[in-house]
Symmetry: C2
Amino acid sequence: MSDKILLAHGSGGQLSHELVEHLFLKYFDNPILAQLDDAATVHVSRFTFHVPGSFNGTSNLKLAFTTDSYVVSPIFFPGGDIGKLAVCGTINDLAMRGATPLYLSAGFILEEGLPLADLERVVASMAATAQTVGVQIVTGDTKVVDRGKADRLFINTAGIGVVPVGVEVGGDQARPGDVVILSGAVGDHGMTIMSQREGLRFDAPLVSDCAPLNGLVAAMLEIAPQAIHCLRDPTRGGLATALNEVAGKSGVGIEIEEHAVPVRDAVRAACELLGLDPLYVANEGKLVAFLAPEVADGVLDAMRAHEYGREAAIIGRVTEEHAGRVVLRTALGARRILDMLVGEQLPRIC
Amino acid sequence: MSDKILLAHGSGGQLSHELVEHLFLKYFDNPILAQLDDAATVHVSRFTFHVPGSFNGTSNLKLAFTTDSYVVSPIFFPGGDIGKLAVCGTINDLAMRGATPLYLSAGFILEEGLPLADLERVVASMAATAQTVGVQIVTGDTKVVDRGKADRLFINTAGIGVVPVGVEVGGDQARPGDVVILSGAVGDHGMTIMSQREGLRFDAPLVSDCAPLNGLVAAMLEIAPQAIHCLRDPTRGGLATALNEVAGKSGVGIEIEEHAVPVRDAVRAACELLGLDPLYVANEGKLVAFLAPEVADGVLDAMRAHEYGREAAIIGRVTEEHAGRVVLRTALGARRILDMLVGEQLPRIC
């Protein structure tokens, strides 16, 4: 391990995982963090006090709690901006635990000299996104650092949601026989950011898929509240990394049909030009679900009826064999191991 | 208003308030955020789902939820470091609503090239601080930005606490007749950071007061769960700014006896050298409380019995007169208006 922080430590891939395991889990040693899910779930009980006449009943809620910092560059891009991303990303992490998102916090780190008009545009975008999903931004903080000590603005959002009674969705819940469903085409967000940064132009425009997925998840849970075992949004490190995380945490094998994974032509063209694999490119409005085979058709129908799931497709299944590994069956019938992202493809993608 | 972000927008003083009012409240328009307290309080109810046999009772919890980003420079200083500060600051914001802190999130923004040993020292400090107060860091995130696009590391923490039944502590709850108690000497944190940055040396060393105040608050609430009306930790902008916020939100006047406010000799000397007023210098381990006069003696005793309240003192009272204003009675008997911080004293103090 290097003795300095590298860009790859923020990739979401192998080095990120090593940093979490060897440093954060070593010190922040508790079973909730150790789940390493998109959001933590915590049980919160009513605290009573020595107040005459106060209600002394017990109550207990299962909350989902998550945080992400957003450092994407550029801060405005086709399909979104850092503000929309900061709201969607945290809402999605809550939704991936089956939670109904309720409240967000927003922490801004601003570079001295940032045009107020840029900040206003970002804040307006955050507000509009939060409003469409019925979530409130209830607490916040602003810090300003000297020019050259940050890059325009960074945003942190944390979020709280409530997990409905009976819902148990987690990265360690996938089981052999589960069907793997992907909600739509992969690679849009990552290739959009990359093409903006590199000044690349393609015939078909690249647009980020940045979107809030809580409504899609609610529609899925409505059909099968207890048969959806695991949900992940494949952000940094892409679909391949998300699948590897689930295979590892659930102790199962995963087989994916390469031809079943939708990839837009523009994304494929950009990936070929840059020598990238779309399976490792970040998404910000997609999810992959692991669920019992008997509910797969019903859930797929519900997903396709939702604006963010129209291209939903079954892309594979969970196996007992090759536990902890993801195997890709190529169009030609060959099988190869699909590893977690190693190194980094593109820093500051979210 | 300037059309660019200035360092003073992060001061906690007048320009910070303008930014919040004219920008954040304009877009994030909801009554919870509009409270502008150290933490938001939100009511969360159990969500039931269409799960056969699931419990359908109702339950409702009052949670406190808060966030802060920490950008202090230097990241290590006498009395603490950015990690200890990030845990204490968010715990204190929860405690200022009377909440029992339970869970924290931690979001790291790391500059490429940061020595891993520095990160480890910070993370160890966060873990140790969280452990002493019985709070768990349950979810986190790490981003890495290119060298020169941040300054070593920034940390965001968000926190969740439970507000005990019957406790109603808020910035708008101070009322005429209330006694104002300060938990100890002011200015230690701000002058410590400033002296480190400016390379100043004094005979008596300056040490940050950075400390978690939840235990002190619990001891105070134990004595008087319903007679403590308002709590504030005077961080950026110092005691003067915190008092002005309470005067404004509660619609009351506040009278402070200048000679009753404890200031250490080293802080006074450093302030005189630099032409600063200790009443405007940041603290990270102090609180100011507004409470009913009949419980003042009992609460004061409880505070003085606690390690972070040994120097607690009554410093003033709440009046009906000059509502919205803070008046300082000087040692010579003169009275002057104590305004909110204008401009900025020292950027990146927390």
